[in-house]
């Protein structure tokens, strides 16, 4: 029965988003609990259904006769003890693994472990939730990114999560349950991204905000890019390197775009850093250092399409940010703010912001 139920459930949803297709140790343990509890509950439902069906078919007035006065039974101690004790046993069957897994998933002791040189051994990422965007800061590596969380597979990744404005909740359904990003305090938990499952979804999982946070709560999505441990180390090195060097614009359009982006233009830079090592923890807008490599614009416009629709996405976002994510703090830039030519240049500049890929 467990197998049958698991089979039915696994058909549900998309593998990059569904909690029913667990893609890591945490999600798997939670999924096992779900299946266990579902099975126990299906047993309860079956027993209830049987008693219930017999009762409502066998004892209809049309069958027992119009004028029959049934025996006025007071109760039955035996039966009542039976249906008190059996549920207690069923609850215990569920309670014991629940307590065990709850404690296991809260175990973040590894975060404190250090090697001989005093460096932390585990990977720790500081997640900061903001009105409709996410910042991912790698404090030990000295790098920061936004909207696309980049993680290595097959190892525990530890998260410190907090919100900078109102409460949000950090959730990657396929990889594990959520944890609230409170405004009051930092919460800590871990996830583990399974490499095989990651391959199935082209190394891209969907993340969501799970706590009502304002008009665009529904659109506060982020994406998770998974890399093998080696590739992740390369990515970190590339990020660190990009933070150290000033890159020269490749052509004039990009140079113009950089101007528009800068303080003499639209002053985008006052909110958006473009260096992967800058302004972690207090930036008013997402860091754009890897913008040209992001899978999605603003977490909602698919950027994996060919070049042309990428441009369209970016322009659409800059012109209509207030409509695409109502209530977001960036606002929109119309023709009066930003000419079409400048928008072209800005878009090209943004697409040139890459660190890891060519």
């Amino acid at each position: 029965m467990i197998a049958a139920l698991a089979f039915i459930l696994s058909g549900c949803g998309e593998p990059f988003l569904s909690a029913l297709q667990p893609a890591g140790e945490v999600a798997q343990r939670q999924y096992n609990l779900m299946v266990l509890s579902a099975v126990v509950m299906v047993v309860v439902i079956i027993v209830v259904s049987i008693v219930y069906s017999i009762a409502i078919t066998k004892f209809r007035r049309s069958k027992v006769g119009e004028d029959v006065i049934p025996k006025q039974v007071e109760g039955s101690h035996t039966l009542e003890i039976l249906w008190t004790v059996i549920p207690i046993i069923l609850v215990l069957v569920l309670a014991v693994p629940t307590v065990a897994v709850t404690f296991a998933l809260a175990d973040t002791a590894e975060m404190e472990e250090v090697d001989e040189e005093g460096n932390r051994t585990a990977l720790v990422i500081d997640v900061r939730a903001n009105l409709y965007w996410w910042e991912f800061n790698y404090p030990d590596q000295g790098i920061v990114t936004a909207q696309d969380l980049v993680v290595p597979t097959d190892q525990n990744v530890y998260f410190n999560v907090i919100a900078s404005d109102v409460k949000h909740s950090f959730w990657i359904p396929a990889v594990g349950g959520k944890i609230d990003t409170n405004v009051d305090n930092m919460n800590t938990f871990y996830l583990n991204f399974d490499s095989e499952s990651a391959e199935e979804v082209d190394n891209l999982f969907y993340g969501k905000c799970a706590e009502l946070c304002g008009p665009s709560h529904a659109l506060m999505d982020f994406k998770v890019q998974t890399l093998s441990s080696e590739d992740f180390d390369e990515w970190v090195a590339a990020m660190q390197e990009a933070g150290e060097e000033e890159s020269e614009p490749e052509n004039e359009t990009i140079a113009r775009g950089e101007e528009v982006f800068g303080n003499d233009g639209q002053a985008c830079i006052s909110c958006h850093a473009v260096s992967p090592t800058e302004r972690a923890g207090n930036s008013p807008g997402p860091n754009l250092a890897t913008f040209g490599e992001r899978s999605y614009v603003a977490g909602i416009l698919d950027n994996r399409d060919p070049e042309e629709s990428r441009e369209e996405n970016i322009k659409n976002w800059i012109r209509n940010a207030d409509k695409l994510k109502p209530g977001n703090t960036m606002g929109a830039y119309n023709e009066d703010d930003l000419s079409d030519e400048d928008l072209d240049a800005l878009t090209e500049y943004l697409m040139s912001l890459k660190v890891y890929t060519e």
Binding site: G13, S18, A19, I69, L94, A106, D180, D184
Partner: protein, 629 residues
């Protein structure tokens, strides 16, 4: 004085209802206003489902959607489900225990008008700059930063109506403790009375935390306090605790009376005494008690730590045991009985599997580590609609059909009733069953839209189609009510034929003084006992004598109106201060005038002696000779 209904002008009827202290008329007031808010909340639900019918829909804007979802939840819980339950409690409980009225008829009226004005105040937000938009839970960080007056309407409206609820709860406690007829011991009380008793005790302990929370938020938003402002040393998690210390018992406040209604229906239409009565009573009390021990299961993902999560997980699972006892006792009540499928019984029979489904997902949710996945997703939405619609709303619909004759003296049409039942039941399961899977497939709750390509399209569409069925069902019910009242076919004391409890021993509707002579109660199901011994009436416990009655009073209405007026002043003085006294200069005077009206009417009530009046013995006897339907 005759009790025969006289033709009265509309204004006279209106004045009568504005001033009534009769529990039966207050029940009708609760039923009408609760029914009205139920329709309002239903329209909000339909807008939600239309918006989510297809991906990336723009039927309503993002901000408006959040207002609608907030008002749907708030309206359905505070302004529809609770008052509708109060309607049946008021209509039935005094009759079931053989009382002439509730213990404090004046307070009963005050409770209603406070609820009514609070509800109206809250809904006026739609026309005065926007409704609250932080969810019915109104979590502090979001609600403190929410712009406009939406949250102010929420805080003030619920504060006023919450006071009414608290008053009503206390009134029922006192009534049930003190007003039982001779022989009506605690362990002979019908289950609906028992569940009203326990729910009232829950109200007594659950509403003060809400009141405290609302006051803190009121001071934060309107008078510059910083209870929930983290940058000033406040803490938002406190709000979550206060809200859920109220909020979890609240769902038992709703479901226990529904359990009570179903218990009456199962026994009546199975022609059989409730199986395991003592266990049922004990289970009700135990559920009420445990209901206070589990609030943090709404906060598993807040980061309280594994110890707290584990304790609250196990405590929550424990509630499954008494609830299971109830389910089996209901089934065994039917077992060996003589079941007739009237409309109320259909609802009761459908309630068992629907509520069981909601109950088992409740146990699944209690498993803390797994709840990290369920929390704040459509799985939770599915779960609580299964318990609240599958439990409370089915109970209310069953109660409407079951007690309609006792409240109005007419029978709702059974054929139309069954159409409503089937449409509603099918629609309910179609709407909410698939939502379990939507949640597990990664759909968070309270989202304005979902995007294409995430595998969520089909189930959302099914859910919307189901909601249409439910809407049609409610329309059929409204039509049923209208034609029934137009036809106005009167019925006798015991229209279902198998009534067991005291309310079926007197006329439908009962005379305004209820029992001419208080009945003598000789056991559980007293009317059934008399019927089985061939009696058509209850044995009286007293000779016919003068009956002391309370006078009608307009004061409760005025008292509540004063708070309603004061609330506007409290709210707009924020704008007055923000404008440096330039505009809204009327705000503070309005606040003061409103409070003076309330305090003044309290003073009048305290200083003016109102001894009520007596119905004389001779008039009561004359009534008998006059003959009644």
């Amino acid at each position: 004085m005759s009790t025969v209904a006289q033709k009265q002008g509309f204004l006279a009827v209106l004045w009568d209802y504005l001033t009534t202290v009769d529990h039966k008329k207050i029940a009708i007031l609760y039923l009408i206003s609760g029914g009205f808010f139920f329709l309002v909340g239903g329209i909000e639900a339909m807008i939600i489902r239309i918006q989510l019918a297809v991906p990336d829909n723009n039927f309503v804007s993002a901000g408006l959607y959040n207002e609608i979802l907030t008002m749907h939840g708030t309206t359905m819980i505070f302004l529809a489900a609770m008052p509708l339950l109060f309607a049946f409690m008021n209509a039935v409980v005094p009759l079931q225990i053989g009382a002439r009225d509730v213990a404090f008829p004046f307070l009963n009226s005050l409770g209603f008008w406070l609820f009514f004005f609070g509800g109206i105040f809250l809904n006026l937000s739609w026309f005065l700059g926007g409704a609250p938009d932080a969810g019915w839970t109104s979590y502090a960080s979001l609600s403190i930063t929410s712009e406009g007056h939406g949250i102010d309407f929420y805080v003030l409206g619920l504060q006023i109506s919450g006071a009414g609820t608290l008053i009503a709860g206390i009134n029922f406690l006192v009534t049930i403790i003190n007003m039982r007829a001779p022989g009506m011991t605690y362990m002979r009380m019908p289950l609906f009375t028992w569940s009203t008793f326990v729910a009232s005790a829950l109200i007594l302990f659950a509403f003060p935390p809400l009141t405290v929370g609302l006051f803190l938020m009121l001071f934060d938003r309107m008078f510059g306090a910083n209870f929930f402002d983290v940058s000033m040393g406040g803490n938002t998690i406190i709000w979550e605790h206060l809200f859920w210390i109220f909020g979890h018992p609240e769902v038992y406040i709703l479901i226990l009376p529904a359990f009570g209604i179903f218990s009456e229906i199962f026994a009546t239409f199975s022609r059989k005494r409730l199986f395991g009565y003592a266990a049922m009573v004990f289970a009700t009390v135990l559920i009420g008690f445990l209901g206070f021990m589990v609030w943090a299961h709404h906060m598993f993902t807040v980061g309280l730590g594994p110890t707290a999560n584990a304790i609250f997980a196990v405590a929550t699972m424990a509630i499954a045991v008494p609830t299971g006892v109830k389910i089996f006792n209901w089934m065994l009540t039917m077992w060996g009985g003589s079941i007739v499928f009237t409309t109320p019984m259909l609802y009761a029979v459908a309630f068992i599997p629907s509520f069981t489904a909601g109950g088992v997902t409740g146990v699944m949710l209690a498993s803390a580590a797994a709840d990290y996945q369920y929390h704040d997703t459509y799985f939770v939405v599915a779960h609580f609609h299964y318990v609240i619609v599958g439990g409370v709303v089915l109970g209310l619909l069953a109660g409407t059909h079951f007690y309609w004759p006792k409240m109005f003296g007419t029978m709702l049409n059974e054929f139309l009733g069954k159409i409503t039942f089937w449409l509603f039941l099918i629609g309910f399961h179609a709407t909410f069953f698939v939502q379990h899977f939507l949640g597990l497939m990664g759909m968070p709750r309270r989202i304005w839209k979902f995007l294409d390509g995430q595998g969520l399209n089909l189930f959302n569409l099914i859910s919307t189609i189901g909601a249409v069925f439910m809407a049609v069902a409610v329309l059929v019910l409204v039509y049923n009510i209208i034609i029934t009242q137009i036809k106005n076919v009167r019925v006798g004391n015991d229209p279902w034929g198998d009534g067991r409890t005291l309310e079926w021993a007197i006329a439908s509707p009962p005379p305004f003084y209820n029992f001419k002579q208080l009945p003598l109660v000789r056991g559980l199901d007293p009317y059934w006992i008399e019927k089985m011994e061939g009696n058509t009436k209850m044995t009286p416990a007293e000779p016919v004598g003068d009956i002391h009655m309370p006078n009608n009073s307009f004061i409760p209405f005025v008292m509540s109106l004063g708070l309603f007026i004061a609330a506007f002043g409290a709210m707009y003085q924020v704008d007055w201060r923000a404008s440096d006294g330039e505009s809204f200069v009327w705000a503070i005077p309005v606040l003061i005038i409103g409070l003076l009206i309330t305090l003044g009417s309290m003073a009048v009530r305290s200083l003016k002696d109102d001894h009520g009046y007596h119905i004389h013995k001779e008039d009561l006897l004359k009534d008998d000779e006059g003959g009644r339907e």
